[in-house]
């Protein structure tokens, strides 16, 4: 099971940026299901990200 969709989902599970690929409708369905399950995890922006974005916006 080394499909691009499996690799995509496994990178989601590792909280890493997934690689782009041309997804079929089935691929998209699996990835959507994975995202829906991952939605249960609490997600908050890090302080580092908040500060970094604030600084970059102040320069725009």
């Amino acid at each position: 099971m080394r499909s691009p969709a499996d690799r995509y989902v496994n990178r989601l599970l590792d909280d890493r940026r997934p690689h782009a690929f041309a997804a079929s409708a089935d691929d998209a369905g699996c990835i959507r299901a994975a995202i829906e399950l991952l939605d249960c995890r609490v997600a908050s922006p890090t302080d580092a990200f908040r500060s970094r974005l604030r600084r970059s916006l102040s320069r725009v």
């Binding site: 299901a33 994975a34 997600a43 908040r50 500060s51």
Partner: protein, 205 residues
């Protein structure tokens, strides 16, 4: 970046770091007005990040998309817009940014933001929010329709954060079998297995 909002132009730019004031914001009515761009940022950065994370499922992409929304909105928001108008504009911008992300990465829309059904207020407090509870309910319904072994691998991997190796050990199967099981379980969860497609709960999207 185009959006549906009509929040105007020419905001004050956020001043560099003032993070100590970011959490303590009084409850404001949607018709109230933000005192400036710092307040808009402080009040909405966490909401937008959580919204994006719920749509892409990983931190790096959620951070990128949140940044894109603010950069796009910064050009068009006017400081006299009400809180409700600002949030509606941010939401419309987020929808456009997310759609562009999916087109670039997978060539099709995997998730979307329904601006009529989504409220940024629901992304304030993840532990007790309506949105979070809905996510748990939705996941519970998906998992409940699966056979035990498929449910087990998805619970271990997605809800408990086990690695594939740890999940395999917990289930007393090989790593290869765990990968195959995860693949098949996700297909069933997505309704792609014909014999299970009718069991998948109706999606909100």
């Amino acid at each position: 970046m185009s959006s549906d909002g009509e929040a105007g132009d020419g905001p004050e730019r956020p001043s560099a770091p003032a993070d100590d004031a970011r959490e303590a914001r009084p409850v404001q009515l949607p018709t109230a007005v933000y005192p400036g761009w710092d307040a808009i940022y402080d009040d909405n950065v966490t909401r937008l990040y959580r919204l994006m994370h719920s749509k892409v499922g990983n931190r790096p992409d959620a951070e990128d998309l949140t940044s894109q929304v603010f950069v796009a909105a910064l050009k068009s928001l006017r400081p006299t817009a009400t809180i409700g108008e600002v949030r509606a504009y941010l939401l419309a911008t987020a929808r456009t940014v997310l759609a562009g992300h999916w087109q670039r990465t997978l060539g099709r829309q995997v998730t979307l933001i329904d601006v009529d059904a989504t409220d940024l207020d629901g992304f304030t407090q993840p532990a007790s929010s309506q949105s979070s509870n809905k996510a748990v309910d939705h996941a519970t319904r998906i998992l409940a329709a699966l056979p035990e072994r498929h449910r087990r691998i998805l619970v271990l991997r997605f809800l408990h954060g086990y690695s594939i190796r740890e999940a395999a050990a917990e289930m007393d199967i090989t790593v290869t079998n765990a990968k195959v099981l995860q693949h098949r379980a996700l297909r069933k969860a997505a309704g792609l297995d014909p014999e299970w497609s009718e069991l998948r709960p109706a999606d909100s999207e």
